[in-house]
């Protein structure tokens, strides 16, 4: 840093003066219309699509009350005489889980077959080809990064 403190102070004064005397930029005329349109669009949306903080107080209280009732009912049913009802309600779910389990076993078998096949293929392919493929992939990755960086510099870097 080769500017002396006096020169830096002079530069600060100069830039400060230039900035202070700038008038406000005139906002585009479309800004007010855009805000109004956005507000209308929001007003046309149903209440439940608005953020929870924007719901009316009564609605928020009612929602919390209903949620508490549902939670309490669920807990009492699972611990008391309603437990049998819950088991019946969840029966379809347990059947689905059993099917998923058998599907998982099948997928595991297929994965084992693929792995064995891959190992035998890898043993047959010369190492030169494997290293060549890896180098090719790295070169393609570098090329993609280079193209992306050039695109960024062209599209955004000049702004």
């Amino acid at each position: 840093m080769t500017l002396s403190p006096e020169e830096q102070a002079r530069l600060e004064r100069l830039v400060g003066t230039a900035c202070r005397e700038l008038p406000l930029l005139e906002a585009p005329r479309s800004l007010a219309a855009r805000v109004a349109a956005q507000l209308q669009r929001r007003a046309a949306q149903p209440t439940w699509r608005a953020p929870f903080s924007q719901w009316s107080t009564g609605l928020r209280v009612a929602f919390v009350a209903v949620a508490l009732v549902v939670m309490g009912a669920t807990l009492s049913m699972s611990a008391g005489p309603g437990a049998h009802l819950i088991t019946r309600l969840l029966a379809p779910l347990s059947r689905v889980l059993a099917r998923l389990e058998s599907t998982g076993a099948l997928i595991g078998l297929l994965a084992t077959l693929c792995r064995n096949l891959g190992i035998s293929l890898l043993q047959d392919i010369p190492a030169f080809w494997l290293y060549g493929c890896a180098a090719g992939l790295l070169a393609l990755y570098a090329l993609l990064a280079g193209i992306s960086a050039t695109a960024y510099r062209t599209l955004y870097g000049t702004r």
Binding site: M1, T2, L3, E7, Q8, R10, L11, E12, L14, V15, G16, T17, A18, C19, R20, E21, L22, P23, L24, L25, E26, A27, P28, S30, L31, A32, R34, V35, Q38, L39, R42, Q54, S148, A149, Y152, R153, Y156, G157, R159
Partner: protein, 179 residues
């Protein structure tokens, strides 16, 4: 809204350096104001509230944008080290640099020069000279070191002064310090 839209737009446009993004953020500012209408209507500091929200939303927007493009920005910065991005600081500015230019032309020149500054120089410079934040506050807001803020602002001033000298009367063009 009409009383404050120029102020809000100026804040977002100078921080972001881009008209389209500035309009988007200014719109968000007024939507937030609408959401907090009851709160700010009675506060009596509507202008200050709007300016603070405009500054915060602009900085948030820049942070998101920076995160998204960090890799490429780094690539760009390392590739552009010899450009105007990091100007030589060995540069003296004549006091009369702004004297010979008509006010309107001067305003346009300064606004354009601000927009041409790289983001890491423009943002702290605007926060210091327009929002009147201290170096310490700027460092906290931007999550960078105090030294970096000072350096970036100084480099921003030098860049700005260079542009002003180039745009100024012809007799000031050669008034750079000789080694």
């Amino acid at each position: 809204m009409s009383a404050y839209q120029d102020m809000v737009y100026s804040t977002t446009a100078r921080l972001l350096g881009d008209d389209a993004q500035a309009q988007d953020i200014a719109q968000d500012v007024f939507l937030k104001a609408y959401e907090h209408f009851e709160q700010i209507r009675t506060s009596g500091t509507v202008g200050g509230w709007l300016k603070t929200v405009a500054t915060n939303l602009s900085l948030n927007h820049l942070t998101r944008h920076r995160r998204r493009w960090r890799l490429f920005s780094d690539l760009q910065r390392s590739g552009d080290c010899d450009s105007d991005d990091e100007p030589e600081l060995d540069f003296a500015v004549p006091d009369t640099v702004l004297d010979g230019i008509a006010a309107e032309e001067r305003h346009r020149t300064v606004e354009n020069a601000l927009r041409r500054l790289p983001e890491h120089q423009r943002v702290p410079l605007v926060l210091y000279h327009f929002e009147e934040l201290s170096y310490q506050d700027i460092a906290q807001r931007l999550h960078v070191s105090l030294a970096k803020v000072k350096t970036d602002i100084l480099r921003g001033r030098v860049s700005l002064a260079r542009i002003l000298v180039r745009a100024g009367p012809s007799d000031t063009h050669s008034e750079t310090r000789q080694p």
